[in-house]
């Protein structure tokens, strides 16, 4: 059933499977597009290029046109910074915030750990989409608030995972030795604990990015995310939804763009970090 031990020993460096490389390629491609997309776009974001609305794919408009006759390819390239950039900023808030809190909670222990853990438990019993809806209802959906909304929503999950890792790591002899030497909390967390929990934390970072992309495009699809005239891929699906009855590519193409990004991230994580901890949306 399980691979024999000798086989594992003979190949200490596991080769990254093809799917992992393909995934990594897709992710890098979209990351480049998030920066370079708006420059590569043939038409500017709001410019009406054609008289034909919901035009099919053609040589001139590779992905068709939208409900105002705008070039879909340009719309998607211009939307990439919103979909990818906002999600990236949010996942940085979630993961860096969650991991830092977790390391300090595990290293400090006592009442600080107890209070943070209780707050996190409470936050985890509110579904992410619901928390996002409540925050948007109260604070509106400007880009900074969207980043904070998704970042705060996914921070408790990052905290949970990082804390479980940190509690194990801080029981290690070298951390105890550092404590005995009288090192400060900052030195222990950054120099002793962080390097030894980085790999799983990075895998979790990728998964969390994926969930945040889904959450934010879901919000935009509901009209509660990125607001016009700016548009991320979720808003593109929303604004073109009336073209669905004509089978216009403008509806389905942005949704497929999101799917390639999220599936690419998934394949990359599988390839590089192994098939552990998977998709419970924590």
């Amino acid at each position: 059933m399980n691979p024999s031990l000798s086989e594992v020993r003979r190949k200490p460096r596991r080769r990254v499977p093809l799917a992992g490389l393909v995934g990594a390629f897709i992710v890098v491609f979209w990351l480049v597009m998030a920066v370079a997309g708006p420059w590569l776009a043939a038409h500017d974001a709001g410019g009406v290029a054609s008289d034909a609305v919901f035009a099919p794919m053609s040589a001139q408009y590779p992905l068709g046109t939208d409900y105002l006759g705008r070039d879909m390819l340009s719309r998607i390239l211009n939307g990439a910074p919103y979909t990818i950039g906002v999600a990236l900023a949010a996942v940085l808030v979630a993961s860096v915030g969650g991991t830092t809190l977790a390391m300090f909670a595990a290293a400090a222990g006592g009442w600080f750990d107890a209070i943070v853990s209780r707050v996190v438990d409470t936050m985890l019993s509110i579904p992410h989409k619901l928390l996002a809806l409540i925050i948007v209802a109260a604070f509106g959906s400007s880009v900074p608030f969207l980043i904070l909304t998704a970042g705060i929503g996914y921070m408790p999950g990052a905290f949970r995972i990082a804390r479980a890792l940190a509690v194990n790591v801080q029981a290690m002899d070298y951390v105890q030795a550092a404590r005995a030497r009288g090192e400060g909390l900052l030195y222990i967390t950054c120099r002793e604990m962080l390097p030894n929990m980085l790999r799983p934390v990075l895998a979790d970072f990728g998964l969390r990015f994926l969930f945040i992309v889904l959450l934010l495009s879901g919000l935009s699809f509901l009209g509660l995310g990125v607001q016009p005239p700016a548009a991320d891929w979720g808003s593109l699906v929303r604004e073109n939804i009336i073209g669905l009855s004509e089978g216009a590519p403008a509806v389905i193409v942005p949704a497929i763009a999101i799917a390639t990004l999220t599936i690419g991230v998934n394949m990359a994580i599988d390839g590089f970090a192994g098939r552990k901890r998977r998709g419970n949306g924590v």
């Binding site: 059933m1 209780r118 438990d121 409470t122 936050m123 019993s125 509110i126 579904p127 992410h128 989409k129 619901l130 809806l133 409540i134 925050i135 948007v136 209802a137 109260a138 604070f139 994926l210 889904l214 495009s217 879901g218 699809f221 509901l222 009209g223 509660l224 979720g234 699906v237 939804i241 669905l244 009855s245 004509e246 089978g247 509806v251 389905i252 949704a255 497929i256 999101i258 799917a259 999220t262 599936i263 991230v265 998934n266 599988d270 998977r278 998709g279 419970n280 949306g281």
Partner: protein, 317 residues
């Protein structure tokens, strides 16, 4: 059930109640943190300081936050969460008229997805490593990682636009026969199921494989028990706990899915009521809907934990 089990369960229920109380604090704090309040929203451009003060007094907004919280919580518990700002109707009435619709949708999705997911999960665990298992594995990961609205739009494109079997919006007012029911609910239920089935099948597969790799199953295999019998009489009874846990957890994800699905199919349920209220910033409705969803979510999570406690053979007598 012995004393220890009972204590664990009572403990778990107590924790759930306390969590719900904490959640209500969070919901209330977020929705009333901003200085702009209901009185201001209602008056809009016409507000003068005197009018504003009068209206605030009428709504009780001049009281300190903790008093308003207690007042709000009391209203919720008494089944009277106030009036909607948009049309002045009682929130309880708005929710009451839509709650049955959402429950029917959720029940239909659960009734379809649980048997499908369990079948897929158990068979793929039995055929572990086969082509079927690998296809299921890849497919479930992909379905979990695409947005719900992609599944919904593809479903509409295929079944309503190309094949013309179903209508793109679900009209549930004029359902007379079972056929009407199926036609109205097919697409929302299908979209919801895609997401939960993938989730549930993965967890079921993991639970069964966990049992299949244990030493008592290996013993049974060495005795020469046939594979089907081995799964049905040896592994499954021990996997019932984890599987039931997986079902309850997956159904909790219905709550996230239902928000998108009700909006896309224009289905008159609680989730679309909440999304509309968020758009209009109708706080009393948002708060009440949020608490309703959180309560449902906590009930499912708690059920999952209680099942896990009950199915632990070490606690059985």
């Amino acid at each position: 059930m012995n004393g220890q089990t009972l204590r664990l369960i009572v403990n778990r229920l107590g924790v759930a109640l306390l969590t719900l109380l904490a959640v209500s604090v969070v919901v209330f704090a977020i929705t009333s943190l901003l200085p702009g309040d209901a009185a201001q929203a209602l008056l809009g451009q016409e507000s003068t300081p005197e009018l504003l003060a009068a209206l605030r007094q009428k709504f009780g907004l001049d009281q300190p936050a903790y008093l308003r919280y207690v007042h709000w919580l009391g209203g919720l518990l008494a089944g009277n969460p106030g009036n909607a700002l948009a049309n002045g109707l009682p929130v309880a009435q708005l929710i009451g008229s839509r709650l049955p619709n959402s429950l029917v949708l959720a029940a239909a999705a659960a009734a379809v997805s649980v048997p499908v997911a369990l079948t897929i999960g158990i068979t793929s665990a039995m055929a572990r490593g086969s082509l079927y298992d690998r296809v299921v594995n890849v497919a479930t990961v992909w379905v979990v990682s695409v947005p719900e609205f992609l599944i919904a739009t593809v479903a509409v494109l295929v079944f309503a636009v190309k094949l013309r079997w179903l209508s793109a919006l679900s009209r549930i007012d004029d359902i007379a026969t079972f056929g009407d029911f199926v036609r109205a609910y097919a697409m929302p239920v299908m979209t919801l199921c895609c997401v939960i089935v993938a989730q549930m099948a993965r967890m079921t597969r993991a639970a069964v494989i966990d049992q299949l790799t244990s030493s008592y199953v290996e013993m049974a295999r060495l005795k020469g028990v046939r594979p089907v019998r081995m799964v049905l009489t040896h592994a499954l009874p021990n996997a019932v706990g984890p599987i039931a846990n997986a079902v309850a957890l997956s159904l909790a994800y219905l709550i996230g899915g239902v928000i998108i699905v009700e909006s896309i199919f224009n289905y008159p349920g609680i989730a679309s009521l909440m999304v509309d209220s968020v758009t209009m910033r109708d706080m009393p409705v948002v708060q009440a809907c949020a608490m309703l969803f959180c309560a449902a979510y906590l009930v499912l999570l708690t059920t999952a934990d209680v099942i896990a406690i009950l199915s632990n053979p070490r606690l059985r007598k």
